[in-house]
């Protein structure tokens, strides 16, 4: 019987499989950042253990780093606890040098899930782990990539393996062409809206179909990034020419005869035609409209043409209660048209949507227009130093600045507000990030998840608008 892409990735990395199916899975790439690694390095030291293969590690500081004041150096990290975390990673990297380390202030520093692929450090066929749930992003390159906890970070450092069990296979096929103004973000929000935030729990999701194949690597990364928001630890897309073209000439991509050899093996990283999936979901791309979340979970999502749902119409009492609680937290009334929702802040960035294509899409909407006077802050945070440099080369920074957006330094920023960028209680934000949980962007903050183009349009209008009607 044929195998799925996930089956192939699993089979090629299982070092040992126990009687109950628990396996030792070999890890090719270990991405490390400052928040979830200090306790792991400390644990190694306490146990008197050494890392197994530091040449598998690529590290950066991204969660705590500020997006302004870089000229002040490390002193620019005003919160002393954040600074200690960043300095602890520096110290751990001095003691155990990695394959690559892009520290705070390095021009290649950035969000770990942006720089891995950008550097060619994420290659097809790899297993990729990181102490961060959005590691699913790297599945866009036909990798088995998922988030792990800090004990597992320590375990992978010490043994180069992860103790894990095989997940189920789910395929989400999106067929047809997307309408103008509809993007990868809208696809993945529509998928989560359909299957729910636990719809993919216990599964690895392969995203397939003509609409996925038509996406750039940036778009595929956006889709895989949010697999975890559907409950699936891993999302993935099969290799095709788009994958190969993206990787050609990247810093850590293979070169010379090895490149040809690598490409030949990568081309096999597709699901067999007769492979069986445990779950199959199909969406028609033509039915997908720009999406906006209204509640405190990514499944609480509607199209921009719709209104805030009415909990009274929900039959499931637990779900209804959740909706009611979300509406109170979000300060919204049922049946309010989404386009009547006024905003205080706009955030364009995060590992979901901070790559060059995302910035181009937002800039195209912003160009020649002004951010509404009612918007307190509209910020654009590039995913990495290299994305920032590319955007500046294309003049996108100027477009944003002239429109009234702030152009910031790279990092995770207001996606999770561990640095100084955050919402104040009650503030409402259009955000290109991935989680609209209570307090995610700051205690009491209200997050609406949208695509970069939708966020830029909302900044200009001061409220949500259907970007498809803009020219």
């Amino acid at each position: 019987m044929g195998r799925t892409l996930y089956d192939k990735l699993w089979d090629s990395h299982a070092v040992h499989v126990g009687e109950d199916g628990t396996a030792l899975l070999y890890i090719d790439r270990h991405l490390v950042h400052e928040v979830t690694s200090p306790q792991a390095f400390e644990g190694l030291k306490l146990a008197g253990r050494k890392p197994w293969r530091m040449s598998s590690v690529v590290a950066t500081a991204d969660h705590n780093t500020p997006t302004t004041g870089w000229e002040r150096g490390i002193a620019g990290i005003e919160d002393p606890t954040s600074r200690i975390q960043v300095e602890t990673l520096d110290a751990n990297m001095r003691e155990h040098p990695a394959k690559a380390y892009f520290p705070f202030l390095d021009k290649r520093q950035g969000i770990v899930h942006v720089i891995g692929p950008e550097q060619g450090a994420t290659l097809p066929g790899m297993t990729v782990v990181c102490g961060d749930s959005h590691t699913s992003t790297h599945g866009a390159f036909a990798c088995l990539a998922h988030g792990i906890g800090t004990s597992e970070v320590e375990h992978v450092l010490a043994t180069q393996c992860l103790v894990t069990k095989k997940m189920k296979n789910m395929r989400v096929s999106v067929e047809g062409s997307l309408g103008r103004g509809v993007t990868a973000k809208d696809i993945v929000l529509a998928v989560i809206g359909r299957i729910g935030i636990a719809g993919g729990t216990g599964c690895a999701i392969e995203f397939a179909g003509s609409a996925i194949r038509a996406l750039s690597m940036e778009g595929r990364m956006t889709v895989c990034n949010m697999a975890i928001e559907a409950g699936a630890r891993a999302g993935m897309v099969a290799v095709d020419d788009t994958t190969v073209q993206y990787l050609k000439g990247r810093t850590f991509s293979p070169t010379g005869p090895e490149w040809d050899q690598a490409v030949a093996t990568w081309k096999m990283l597709v699901s067999d035609a007769d492979a069986k999936f445990d779950h199959e979901i199909r969406l028609d791309a033509r039915d997908i409209a720009p999406q906006v979340t209204w509640g405190t979970s990514p499944e609480m999502v509607v199209t921009v043409e719709a209104s805030v749902p009415d909990p009274d119409k929900e039959k499931d009492p637990i779900k209804r209660e959740g909706m009611e609680r979300a509406l109170v937290y979000m300060g919204l009334k049922p049946r309010t048209p989404m386009q009547d929702i006024r905003l205080d802040k706009v955030f364009i960035g995060s590992c979901t949507n901070s790559r060059i294509e995302d910035l181009r899409a937002a800039a195209a909407v912003a160009k020649g227009r002004k951010v509404a006077a009612s918007i307190k802050v509209a910020m654009v945070v590039p995913g990495s130093g290299l994305v920032k440099a590319q955007a500046e080369k294309e003049g996108l920074d100027k477009v944003f600045r002239e429109s009234g957006f702030e152009w910031r330094e790279p990092g995770c920023s207001m996606c999770l507000a561990m640095n100084a960028d955050r919402l104040e209680p009650g503030e409402r934000c259009a955000s290109t990030s991935n989680r609209n949980f209570e307090g995610r962007q700051g205690a009491g903050g209200r997050t609406h998840l949208v695509s970069p183009a939708m966020a830029a349009a909302a900044a200009i209008a001061g409220h949500f608008v259907d970007v498809r009607s803009w020219r």
Partner: protein, 212 residues
Amino acid sequence: MEKFTVLNGLVAPLDRANVDTDAIIPKQFLKSIKRSGYGPNLFDAWRYLDVGQPGMDNAKRPLNPDFVLNQARYKGAEILLARKNFGCGSSREHAPWALAQYGFKCVIAPSFGDIFYNNSFKNGFLPVALSESEVDNLFYDSALPGFRLVVDLDRQTVATSDGSKSYKFEVDASRRHSLLNGLDEIGTTLRHADAIRAFEARRQAQFPWLFR
């Protein structure tokens, strides 16, 4: 790792679905480089009326009287009862750390976020999945003051302390074995060090670009 064998504990019901890890331990408390000290900030935004920051004297903060864990009858609770998809969201192991350091040893829910579920076992903290109707029954029973449950990992049962009701739960044999014996997982894996080395050597020969 800490062992888990049998627990007879007071039950605190948290009647919410999709409790995410941002709610379990908000991000401002993730700046610590230690494994300990997270208990006082468990469910911080729900538990206190002010906005919590690291370094605050939590004993002086205003408590939210409506939040279940602040009710006197649940003081000392060791078993948390919750609705489906508990621990969804981020990979932060700070979530099970905070739950365990608060004093919980077990959480019972119909389902869990995958990464949270994994992380829990690494910390001697047992996540137990029962069916939605069984959890519903337990929520009903937990209205009784002093409601306790006995969680027996060896027998894979959750029972009322008088033994009148008992529910069976599933857990992987290897996870169960590790937790019952408090095994050091890294030490266990390193017993396969030769197999890992051999696998690595084969892989490097076949795909040298992965090892550059």
